[in-house]
Each structure stands twice: as C-alpha cells, then as structure tokens.
Symmetry: C2
Subunit: 439 residues, 2 copies
C-alpha cells in the first residue's frame, strides 16, 4: 500500500483523554477513533491488526476441532428469561425495544442463543462432542468505559461453546480449549498464564482466566514464576490425545488473580524466589458450567441408553479487540508500538527519503513491486514529507522492518534496513535487503 | 472437513414459513436459522458462503482504490441530528437509550459517521480523492421482515463513501464504483444490470441500482435486453483511466426499475424485440449526493486556492448477506442449490458410499488428504448413512463437484465424478478425478 493512497491520520501530540499507553499509541498511530463513549471505529491500520489477530484465533479454534458459525448481535430477551439471566444481568446489558414493542438486547455473550441453536437441531449423543464458536461484536454497557478498546462498550469477542454427553467428556473439551488458548496467545507474541478464576455470572465450577503480565494491568496476580516461560504445545499437538498432563503441568502450579488469591497457599506452595506478583491483563476466560443452561433451556440429547439427558457445557472467550491493547501494553517503547511479526499490519515499511527524485522514486517503485510480488506486505511511504517525519511515523506504527532508500545510499549501491524491535540498522545492497525480507 | 465433525443440520421437509426458494433452500441446507423475526444465525455452511462473497467484494473494492476501515454498529443520535436525518428516518431506525440516557441507534447506514471521521482528520484537497468502506452489520427495523435473509432486519452490508474536491472528480469516483460493481457481481456468477434509480432518503442527483433478474424478484424492471449479457471489464481494468465510456455504454441504454419507468421512453428508445421486462432483485445501490452531508456537518477541505470548501460525496452499498439469497434465486434446481464456483462453501463433496468398509474408508481418506494438500476445499461425507441420503444432501447443498467412492467402483479402479450444475457423471480413475479437481 502506498501511503498517499492510504488513510493514516497520525497524531503528533499525546491525546489528553488517553490514560494508558496502548490507548495513546492507538490514537496517535491512527488505528482507532472514538465515536461515542467506549465505541470506536477501526481505521485501516487498526483494522489490519484486528483481522490478523482474528485469523490466528480462528486457525487455532479450527485446529482444536471447533466449528465456526455466526450468531447475530441482537437477541430476543425471551431466551434470557428462559435461562433466568435476564433480570440479574444488570445495567451492563443494553436493552432494546423494537418497533413492535418486543424486548431485545445487544448480546453481551451467547450461552442462551447457542443453546437454543443446539437444542433445535441436535438430538443424539452421536453428534457430540461439539464445539461451536463465533467471532462477533458484543456490547456491554460499562458504567465508565475507559482505556480505549481495552474497556470499551462495543467489542469483538471470540466465544466458543462446547456440548458433551457427560462431565468426563466435557472436561476433555475444556482441556482442548485450554491448550488452544496457550497456542493462540503464544502465536500472538504474548506470554499468557492460566489462573484459577471465579466463575461469576456464567456459573459453573471450573474456570481459568488467561492473564498477560503488564505494568498497566487492571488487577494484581500471583503465580509461580516458572509459568511465565513454560513451553507451549507445538503445531503437532494431537487434540485427540489425552491433554490432561499438559494442562496439569500448569494448573498444578500456583497462579491466581487477586480475587482468588490465598496468601497462605501461595507461600506454602511456591518457593520464595519463585513467587511472582505482578499486574495482569485478562485476555481470555474459559468456563465449564455443566448443565446450567441445558437444564434451564431443556437442551437434551438421547444418550447411549436411549434416554434423554441434558448436555454438559462450557464456554470459552477471547477478547479479540482487547488483545490489540494487550499486545501494545506488552510491546512498545518510547517511540511507539513494536508489533510481533504475526500481527503486524504490514511486514515492512519502505521509506523514500526523497520523493520526487527520479532515481529514488524508481528504486523504491522497483523494491515495492518486488516485495509485493513475493507476498511481503509493504507500506510504502511515498509522501512528499521530510525524512524526520517519515522515520517517526514508521517508529510509531511499529512495523517489524523499515527499509530506507535515499539518493546518497543509492549512489553507493546501498539501502538501510532497520529492525524496529532491536533498533539495529544495517547498510546492505538492495538485493541483500530484499533477500532478508523474503523477496 | 469431515461431515462427522461439522454442524450441518439439513432438513428433509420444506419449512412452512419459507415463501421463496432461497429461504427454503437456506433453511433446508442448514445454512441459517432464525433467532427472532428477521434476525438469523449463520450456520457453518452459510457462513462459509458469506465469507467468500465478502472476500470478493473486498478484493474488488481494494482493486478500485477504496480503503477498508470498520465503523461500529451503534451510533450516537447526535450525528444524525446534525445531518437532519434523525427525525425523518422513521421507525426503520432502531433507536436505543443507553444506561446514561444517551440517545443511540443501530446504524442503518453510515453517511454521518464516516463524514465525522473524515472531517476530524482530513484537511486538504491533497488527500483526495478518498474512498473509505467497511463491511459491517446493519439494522433496519422492517415492519414485516420476510424472505429469509433477503429482507431481514440485521444484515451485512458493504458501504463505501467517496470524498472529492469537486463534482468532476466525484463523478470519476462514482464511475470507479460503477465499474467495480459490475466486476464484483460478475465474479459472483451474477448478471447485474445497472438501472437509473431514485435517490430516496440518501439524497443526491445521480444514482443507480444494480439489479439481477430472477422470477421471484421483488419489483418489475424494464431494460434493453443487450444489457443482460454485456461484457464486463477484466482484471486489467485501469481505474486511473477515463471510465466514462465504459459507464456510458450501459447508461446510454434504457434500464429502469418500476418507480423510474417511463413507458413512452422505453418504447421510443428500445426496438420491440429488445424490450425486456422482468422481475428483479436489487443487490447494490450507488449514489452521488454532492455536498448534502458535508455542508450539514461542516466537512470541508482546503482547496488548491487555500479556501475551505465542502467535499463532494457519494455512497455505494452492496447487500452482502442478501446476495446469498440472490445467488440462490438465480442458481438452483428442484434438488437444491447450484453454487457458482467462486462462492461455493466447498469445491468438492466427497461421498463415501460405504463408511465402515475398510478399503473404501482408506481410499476416501487418501483422496481427502490429497485434495486438502492441493488446497482444494473438500467436504467429506464420512457419516454412517445410506447412499441415498448422502446423494440428496450433496445435491441440496450444491457444491460444484461430487466425487463418489464405493467398494464396487474401487474394485474396477474407478470413482464417479459428478458436475452438480450439469448433472453430468463420469467414471474415471482416482488419479484422473484428482487431476480434474486440481489436485
């Protein structure tokens, strides 16, 4: 993409309304704009990152055997009355009345709706286990939206729902999601630690939050420090195998959020030099809730004995839009964002130091074409701007590589390749630069 | 995908509530389920088609130089009060009050919001022309939702918005979208005819609807029959060139929807044997509305003379979810859907005639793996069902190719390859079948 054809409204000043670094950087880098309190537009650069995160989440859900569908944003209140959650959910639920005076709501989560879809068409244990997920906009009417998209009102969530014939099978479904989450966050460049969690309004008796560590985290967390860098299962993971040992390896170690923390247990179970207490950001949450919804909503299947029994369920959420903030909180410096390669909006930023200079324009056009035809995503700063502005824009938006092309270097047959994360710069031939970038 | 791991709840009976064939077939093929009046879930098979259509729409928008962003579903009423449309829009606008008693609405379209985004960050004519689009769920509270997703309440729309410094430039932006629409619908396997249209509540003085012909169409249309099979610009179209001749080639011929029809002009301009009157379905609508929104909302840029002037705008919609219905209305037979290859949920349906038979299972598994590794999307019916049910399911869901593998054929070294559209069946070796399918 040529920057002159793009829409990248970067800000030089720090916006006054942004209290945390991710919010500040997303505004400055022209990734988002607020439309109403806690409601944002994703500008082109932000949208590209959002879609890359979404794609990784999707791939790992599919790999774990979940099947994607898409439920609507608006739901009938009737389903929530059936489950008993309509009155209890409180003001975070955005309630709507349509033109025919029917009670609707903007879905904050989908346990009821997916249970309804399930019960209408699934009849037999033979169709189980089943895990249905979607990636859809949700709304929670937060009383005080803040921190940009980290605590917004309209947000993109991946939510998966498992259906099993009994608890033993449901726990296996839970383990599959547990492992899929480890893999997902790892691919996003994050070190996420599963922590025992309260089940809250979803209900149930087994739940983990996935927490990434960041100084600006919303809550205090406590864990065994070996959890931070523990190996994550690879691409060859077999989701049909017994995953309990992989899960236990983590859950056997102490890890708890503030609300679940037990100081005595922490000290008893963790050697002093391994006790980590830090700030954390929740990026995922998984629940096993048994027959809570299936009993209330009569979602039954015929078991092997022919008798109908309520299915055992779990739900599994990842805050897709929130992850952008989490990644930035975990990966930035004083000059801007440092994207992990897997989610970077473009792989390379190509900087033309003298737009309008015939030789430089031609060299850049050639490099741009070669990178594109090799499938390397490149953002080409072809604007008629001074070099300083181009450098600071590129640092701000945080693409993994910067390729700097100017008339002086070209005379000597070299271009400059800069690694955004390390700051390392090398002068190499154009061909060598292309080779290093995979073209 | 193995059918035993998928969620494909096909129905044998015609659902009573479905009045038109696309609605009937989408329900029967397990593509959608209604959650509330005019609000649907997209089951896995339906979602795959929706995503393929969306991808084609996106590619053609990008090719034409439009830039993708994503605006939220909920909007503040303030913007609509500013443009003057809040009171006039009527009951189709779903109005919402949040917990702080602020007036919100579920966006039915985004002229106001995109104008607000534009005016906040764009200052100069040098940044123009600009065309921003998004693909997002919209809501229109239809008084009587019907025909499945063809006239639903929550629907997926691609809407683009162009910004230009003057009318001459804005008309060029309009022509780019006009051509992009021709290409988009053509790639979707549709023959769409642009017709002069009323501008309605969007306003403006230049507008075309893109109409596909189908017996079940919602309105009567009249046009010169040469328009139906007119060539569409190819991949080599240069969007920087003068597109007016390509546009005029079509707009010079008579084509009008019922509300714009002028019987006398039709007879005067079109020879009798070329007069086509038929039923049509609107799948796209483009508008040039000049400074209607920019004046009301003070969206100005500095012109070449340094003076601020309101930008000239247009908006361009495609009903992405509605297109599924349109494609099915245009392409089906008595046994089910016939997907154009470009949007088929899978390329091939692999039918195992005797699941459980060791040799047949092994042959199918081998074919399945080979197709997958060649990048061919294959849905493998590995269920323990009788052959008749498998054949009718495959015909119903309408994949372009069926590959039928049974023990008898395997003994003779052959499998059967069926073309869904023509019904033609050939017996060929497994290798030959794989070759024909691109593996």
């Amino acid at each position: 993409m040529r920057l002159t054809n793009f829409f990248l409204p970067v800000l030089k000043e720090n916006p006054a309304e942004a209290q945390i670094v991710s919010h500040r950087l997303m505004l400055r880098a022209g990734m988002i704009r607020q439309n109403s309190a806690g409601i944002y537009s994703w500008l082109p650069l932000g949208l590209r990152v959002l879609r890359k995160i979404e794609a990784i989440v999707r791939e790992e859900m599919d790999r774990a055997g979940a099947v994607e569908l898409l439920m609507p944003t608006l739901q009938s209140a009737d389903l929530w009355k059936e489950s008993g959650r309509y009155d209890g959910y409180g003001k975070e639920m955005l309630r709507i009345v349509d033109r025919h005076d029917r009670d609707m709501l903007y879905g904050p989560t989908n346990e009821e709706m997916v249970t309804d879809i399930f019960r209408r068409d699934v009849r037999s244990y033979k169709d189980l286990p089943m895990n249905l997920y979607h990636i859809q906009w949700k709304f929670r009417d937060e009383i005080r939206p803040r921190f940009g998209i980290m605590r917004g009102r309209e947000f993109l969530m991946k939510d998966a729902y498992s259906f099993d014939v009994d608890e033993a099978s449901a726990r296996k479904s839970y383990y599959r999601m547990f492992i899929a989450y480890l893999r997902t966050f790892n691919r996003l460049g994050l070190k996420a630690i599963p922590m025992a969690a309260d089940t809250g309004p979803i209900g149930g008796d087994l739940s983990h939050e996935f927490i990434i560590l960041a100084e600006t985290g919303e809550s205090e967390v406590f864990c065994h420090s070996d959890l931070v860098d523990m190996d994550v299962p690879g691409d060859d993971i077999d989701y049909q195998s017994d995953l309990m040992p992989l899960v236990s390896k983590r859950t056997d170690m102490y890890a708890a959020t503030d609300e679940m923390h037990d100081a005595a247990a922490f000290e008893a179970q963790v050697p002093e030099d391994k006790r980590l207490s830090a700030r954390g950001i929740e990026v995922g949450h998984i629940f096993y809730f048994g027959t809570k919804y299936s009993e209330a909503m009569n979602a039954v299947v015929a078991g092997p004995d022919g008798k109908p029994a309520p299915v055992h369920g779990g739900s599994y959420g990842i805050g897709v839009s929130r992850l952008l903030g989490g990644i930035i909180e975990a990966s930035h410096d004083e000059n801007g964002i440092i994207w992990p390669a897997s989610v970077a909006p473009y792989d390379v930023g190509l900087i033309n130091l003298k737009s309008g200079d015939e030789a430089t324009d031609a060299a850049c056009a050639d490099i741009y074409a070669k990178l594109q035809s090799a499938g390397v995503d490149v953002l080409y700063d072809d604007r008629n701007e001074r070099a300083g502005a181009k450098f600071s824009t590129m640092d701000l938006i945080g693409l993994p590589w910067q390729l700097v092309v100017g008339p002086r270097g070209l005379k000597n047959g070299v271009v400059e390749l800069k690694n955004r994360a390390t700051g390392e710069k090398v002068e190499v031939s154009t061909q060598e630069a292309l080779t290093r970038l995979g073209a």
